[in-house]
Symmetry: C2
Subunit: 472 residues, 2 copies
């Protein structure tokens, strides 16, 4: 049944019981590949502990037998970070049974949860307590808080509320040697030494297993306004966000940029979507304002801002959603891009960030270089422009064959990453490195920074048993 010694298997059984082990090929299947089927591995076992103590015992056992551990949450990652390698000797440690919301403290505006809680459950529990947990992303119905922490998840509300890192006050972590670090503090200020939680957040399971967290909550939002704006250029979008943010401050909670190509793919492939405007425009932004006040005059504010932008020639057309249905229809145009692009054949996806001020120059120069070197490629640029984060994806030229396009993958990636590096940007803004971008990180990150990361990894995990082959 397994490539690991019988003794080890019996040890696992004594830790998690028969219910906590999945060993047959059929049931293991969904744990061994990602939802896009981009990565596939093998494992000796899937182990599903029910408590932090069980996780700790498992990690100690794995140390004893020198078995590598691959922590896994909702398995919705995009970089293969929670998929084991092909050896069949690794153990997948699935945290999904640890799905309790332990405490909601509305007065402290905190929630303590186990790592396996689904993000949407956290959002709902916050709403039940009259609060907001602001992390919001496509996979929220199935991703887990542990995975969000391991990858420092981003999404559409980072502009106002920050990344997962910024939404976390405390952590509980099983260290690579099986000790439990209880850092589950719900404190907004604590300056008693090194802030260890930030070492584990975003480390993709390579420094330990996050088992629980204390999350920050916010006041509930009681008014929302959503608008769809057409613009002549990406530069106009960057100027527009300056105007709106200066005017509205923290009321600006969403500012999503989309190229015409992105929207066209959605209009072609996603049923029920329609263009808000009769005419076509090179760029669009979806703007969301929100407020804790019911009946806040957000439309007036937005019209003021867009009015100023119109006068300055930055905006070509704009519509403010007049109903919940219209709001949903506008967001569908944004959220449909990733799926729509899949209908156009193979695509190369990138998740880069540069300073917001460099977005226009990045797009202009990279578009030009790609069109020169790879005639006919279709550039699907969209993203969270307030965070400087672009999903700068490339679809194959119309009529070209898949194989020759895929052969250009590396060369296209290098054009994009070289440009990113030229603007002091990041080759992975919000998806992490996993196994997908590990090699690229070696090329594009500062060697000294990589050396520091390796030194820390070796210090905390000298046997290299925590998610080996990922990140570093």
């Amino acid at each position: 049944m397994s490539k690991l010694p019988e003794e080890f298997i019996r040890g696992v059984e004594s830790v998690v019981g028969a219910l906590g082990i999945i060993g047959d090929a059929e049931r293991m299947h969904s744990y061994l590949s990602d939802w896009r089927n981009a990565y596939r591995g093998e494992a000796a076992l899937i182990v599903r502990p029910a408590s932090t103590e069980e996780v700790a015992s498992m990690v100690r056992l794995c140390n004893q037998y020198q078995v590598a551990v691959v922590p896994q949450g909702g398995n919705t990652g995009l970089c293969g970070g929670s998929i084991p390698d092909a050896s069949g000797t690794q153990v997948v440690l699935s945290l999904t049974r640890m799905n309790r919301i332990c405490e909601v403290d509305a007065t402290n505006e905190t929630m303590t949860v186990e790592a396996g809680v689904i993000l949407q459950k956290v959002q709902e529990a916050a709403a039940d307590a009259g609060r907001l947990f602001p992390l919001s992303l496509g996979a929220e119905g199935s991703c887990t808080i542990g995975g969000n922490l391991a990858t420092n998840a981003g999404g559409t509300a980072v502009l106002r509320y920050g990344n997962m890192r910024d939404l976390t006050l405390g952590l509980e972590v099983v260290l690579p040697d099986g000790q439990i670090w209880n850092g589950l503090r719900g404190l907004r200020k604590d300056n008693t030494g090194y802030d260890l939680k930030h070492l584990f957040i975003g480390s993709e399971g390579t420094l330990g297993v996050i088992t629980a967290a204390v999350l920050k909550l916010y006041p509930a939002v009681r008014s929302v306004t959503t608008a769809w704006v057409a613009l002549p250029s990406a530069d106009a979008a960057v100027q527009l966000i300056g105007i709106i943010r200066g005017l509205c401050g923290d009321r600006l909670t969403g500012f999503e940029l989309m190229s015409r190509q992105s929207v066209e793919f959605v209009l072609s492939h996603v049923v029920g979507c329609s263009d808000p405007f009769a005419e076509s425009h090179p760029w669009y932004v979806l703007i969301e304002l929100s407020d804790t006040q019911p009946d806040a005059p957000l439309n007036d504010l937005l019209e003021l801002g867009i009015g100023e932008a119109l006068e300055r020639g930055l905006v070509s057309n704009a519509v403010v959603a007049g109903s919940e249905a219209q709001v949903a229809a506008l967001w569908a145009l944004r959220e449909g891009i990733s799926e729509a692009q899949n209908h156009e054949g193979p695509s190369l996806k990138h998740d880069i960030s540069v300073p917001v001020s460099c977005i226009p120059a990045f797009i202009q120069s990279t578009d030009q270089r790609l069109r020169e070197q790879f005639p006919g490629v279709r550039i699907v640029a969209y993203g969270h422009v307030g965070d400087g984060n672009l999903h700068y994806n490339i679809s194959k030229p119309v009529g070209s064959d898949d194989a020759s396009f895929k052969a250009q993958q590396e060369a296209i990636m290098h054009v994009i990453y070289d440009a990113t590096a030229g603007f002091q940007g990041s080759i992975s803004a919000e998806h992490g490195l996993g196994q997908a971008k590990r090699a690229a990180a070696r090329l594009y990150k500062d060697p000294l920074e990589l050396e520091l990361m390796r030194t820390i990894k070796l210090t905390l995990d000298p046997n290299s048993l925590m998610n080996p082959g990922k990140v570093l």
Copy 2:
């Protein structure tokens, strides 16, 4: 002139030149004790490098000769973190000559500065660019950004904008071996491995020398309202902040709690201060709302919130400042506490945090225990209640002698720290550990967490030359 070898001194001269060295006792004086004269040390030299390269050369030289380095900014800390020990063999590395604002990118809402820039200069440069740098604290006219980073400074705007850690996007650090890590990225999203900057922020110079940073800016504030509210209890204050934050969201940028005792000290000792109310009340809060909108109806909002609190019996009296002068007068009552307390003889100062929801129980139980065990002590409790952060200071009983009060210092501290620990709090919310709280941290921090900190320290600074005797 110095306890260090002549060769070393000549090496220092060749790195920073004669202008960069202070070796005579008179000029060294102000670098060797803190502004309160609570800590005093000796040093072989004060070295004032003018560039990151000079810092790096100095650190390499100190490694070669095994000389300990004490980084120092504005020397405004409260825990002796930047004061050398008594040996006279350490070198103070003052960053104050590195005081350039390198770049303001208003579109990206970032500013790149050297470590020696005074906080107030950063606030002013942000304002000149139509932006806000929100960190605000008493010492802002003389503290430096490097010191703010080293101690993860807090202050009065943390409730809305977070600690210094949250206001930082990138760092440049000279590592203990003299290598320069350039992490000066102005990115809001970067998930390419371990977030190293968080290891250095708050490490009080024990892991390297922070030489520059990329700071986050915010939209300028264009309306402010300030109110002074009297309350029957600390519990009422915690309920009031819930009402105001739920109503106003991020418009709530200040919520400072003060006991009657704190205010009475100010009224007795600070010239020009007067009680806003004719009658006395057990507790007060100073509330500040702000908005990016000019003429935002903040008074209406505040009155709505206070009105609800009045109906629920949470508020006894309230006044909204009607002029700039009144705003200043209200803040003077808050900001005068620390100085006023010094006029009442020796005082024991504590900077603790607990979950906001635990503030009332903490105050009630700790007040009671102190009054029982140390009859007559005067409890001066005030602080940033929205952050769960109390400056819970103790003045000697009226008429008692200083020496017998000081003899009780340890016992009083343990009552307060035991209570803090009982509420899963922190013994240093915003001041750091420095040399002052190093021993207490050993008692009150999780041993595993201390062990992790020591492991990291040893890995990055194997010769223990970076600010030894601080934090750990």
